[in-house]
Subunit: 394 residues, 2 copies
């Protein structure tokens, strides 16, 4: 089987799919969630930590890595995998989103996006070809085409023009990708197109058909999670279901709350990324499961660990309770437990009261433990969703 | 054998000793180094991390923990060991040093030290009895008496008066310690006296004799590492050697560079703490061994990882090379290797180039990896010193 998606089960009660995505760096069960290693590390965590947490794929940002450490360093290492010693697959974005949201200045032309670095003001030109070149140097397993993530305030004509240009950029991206595949740092990489069109469903469908004509290894739905109501995102996904090729992976780009992830999976989404678990963790907001039934909107809750009520709280941090017992201060683990559970063991050692204290005195360890808790929650959520599809519940 | 020091070997070429210190939370080989978990965590590291690094004892700060989380929380947990889930021994300082260096205002009287919190300005009174009470609530294994760490600028009369008061405080400390031992969170704790006297050798000797009269489980040498020349510290240690009881542990308080640690051990010191490895790590300064012969002043070197020359450097971080081979990207470890080597495996995965990048983009993971490297260096140094004593080289 070549790299790509193999669907193992399709739900009979929704458009949810359970499958396996084969990449040049191993297989991942779908649907899956990608923790974000923006600048070559998930903030506060190492690649070894991500393995222990059970992450199977990471997302890294082209814009950031292009500026620092830069491509000379990346060539010296032979790519991002060796740079951060991550052995699983990596998806990289095109850099477009950061150019539009972070860069000091930018100007979009047919050629590409000219921008000034947010770090030192230096000028750069990000073309569709340049974005692919960078991602092929990074050795990414899933390469994204350069697109314009259209802001909600675009009028209809500007939106139409932008989407048309995104199609032309997609073609140029594919041409460059194929021409340089063999000499890249990852000849087994896949290339994904990105669907745009705001919340205009007709435009979304037209654009998806245009991308399908070009032909990609997978299709991302971009330009959502930028402030529009959740219901509008669902309408777009509903409309795209019959248009996007059923045998290709579908990637919903950008932030999603846990219950939104369930809704997107029900609409046929196989892949998601989200900065929420790690960003919220650094502000002391923790996720934990409350109910097993994921169709309930209240299947999880959030704890604000900085709240004074957590001072002296003896509850341990093992929110997931994954397969071993915790009772008070008496805990015994077999060697097999430790091997299997990775960071679960470490998290189960500490208490809400200790975590509250670490945030109170601004110890970085607090942010680290909270990040592990939340990433573990999102990974566990995907596992529960996968089981739910298998059992016919989703 | 009750808690205390058992000397296994005394050097014939110096005053160095090799032994075992038995505490209420296990035995430690002497001489040893104590990483500093100021507010209940070694900055960026967890108790599990410290175990994996091979730390056998931690030092925590009474002043900080008294203010946050405070004694109500500590009583709820039954002490600091459970609060931070650290199963090995803990030494706590008396809080005096921080009152003198950190507090917003302070006034010393015969009764104790009145001070205003550096956090909220609230007023507190730290008496010898209060310091012991806090440390007994923390459940410390090695409790330190309250002393005044005399600054170098004291004139002779002020110094004399301060040292005399420290003797009276030491007696009050011991009385309170013994009276409340059985109801404390650690009835097996030891109490250490602290020798002061600046760099006045005669005063040091007189003070040490006064403390010996009271009788302690161990003796600390305080008030050094406060700016005086290294040679003056050595003179004080030389003079105290024949005065301090040979069968009790000797603890040199405060910062020491690696070659200074070797010099102090040669003068009979069994215990050291130092904020340098972790503080320097957070600024990107790394220690590594260069020569096996510890009598050479250049047996180690420091790397400034933020230096641009480290960009793209493929050298791995495993400075200690403790018993397994690293060659390029080909590494194989047995399960036993992993069990034994703990964080060595993790450190050996990453490169100087990656670490440089993490500091460059200000990822906290960089500070964490650097802290692990430096604490591992100091622990490895103590192991090498111990072997050196056994082999008759120190």
């Amino acid at each position: 089987m070549s790299n790509g998606l193999q669907i193992l089960k399709t739900s009979t009660i929704s458009a949810a799919r359970r499958g396996v995505l084969k990449t040049a760096h191993g297989e991942i069960q779908t649907p899956f969630f990608m923790p974000i290693a923006t600048k070559g590390a998930v903030k506060t965590l190492s690649s070894a930590d991500m393995e222990k947490l059970g992450a199977e794929i990471l997302l890294s940002n082209t814009y950031h890595l292009y500026l620092r450490p830069g491509m000379d360093v990346m060539r010296a290492f032979g790519g991002l995998h060796k740079f951060m010693d991550w052995h699983g697959p990596i998806l990289t974005d095109s850099g477009g989103y950061q150019v539009f949201s972070l860069a000091a200045r930018r100007k979009i032309t047919e050629e590409g996006a000219e921008f000034a670095s947010h770090i030192d003001g230096s000028k750069h030109m990000l073309t569709p070809e340049k974005s692919i070149e960078i991602q092929q140097t990074l050795g990414s397993d899933i390469v994204m085409v350069l697109d314009e993530c259209t802001p909600p305030e675009y009028d209809q004509e500007t939106l139409n023009n932008s989407v048309d240009r995104t199609v032309r950029w997609a073609q140029r991206s594919k041409d460059y990708f194929e021409q340089n595949r063999d000499t890249s740092n990852n000849p087994g990489a896949m290339l994904f197109g990105i669907n745009q069109g705001g919340i205009n469903v007709d435009l979304r469908v037209k654009h998806a058909n245009d991308l399908k004509q070009i032909g990609f290894d997978g299709y991302a739905i971009g330009g959502l999670s930028v402030g529009e109501p959740f219901e509008e995102s669902c309408k777009v996904l509903d409309a795209l279901q019959s248009v996007l090729p059923a045998d290709k992976p579908r990637y919903f780009m950008g932030g999603a709350k846990p219950h939104e992830i369930v809704a997107y999976v029900k609409r046929g989404v196989d892949m998601m990324d989200c900065v929420l678990p790690s960003r919220n963790a650094r502000h002391g907001l923790l996720y934990r499961f409350v109910h097993d039934d994921l169709s309930r909107p209240d299947f999880y809750e959030t704890l604000h660990i900085t709240n004074a009520k957590f001072a002296g709280d003896l509850t341990t941090l093992d929110f997931q309770q994954s397969g071993y017992s915790v009772s008070g201060n008496e805990r015994t683990f077999s060697a097999a437990d430790i091997q299997r559970s990775g960071h679960s063991i470490e998290l189960s050692r500490y208490t809400l009261g200790y975590l509250h204290h670490l945030f109170d005195v601004q110890e970085v360890l607090g942010q680290r433990l909270a990040t592990m808790i939340n990433i573990k929650f999102y990974l566990e959520l995907m596992e529960r969703i996968g089981k739910g599809i298998e059992e016919g519940k989703i």
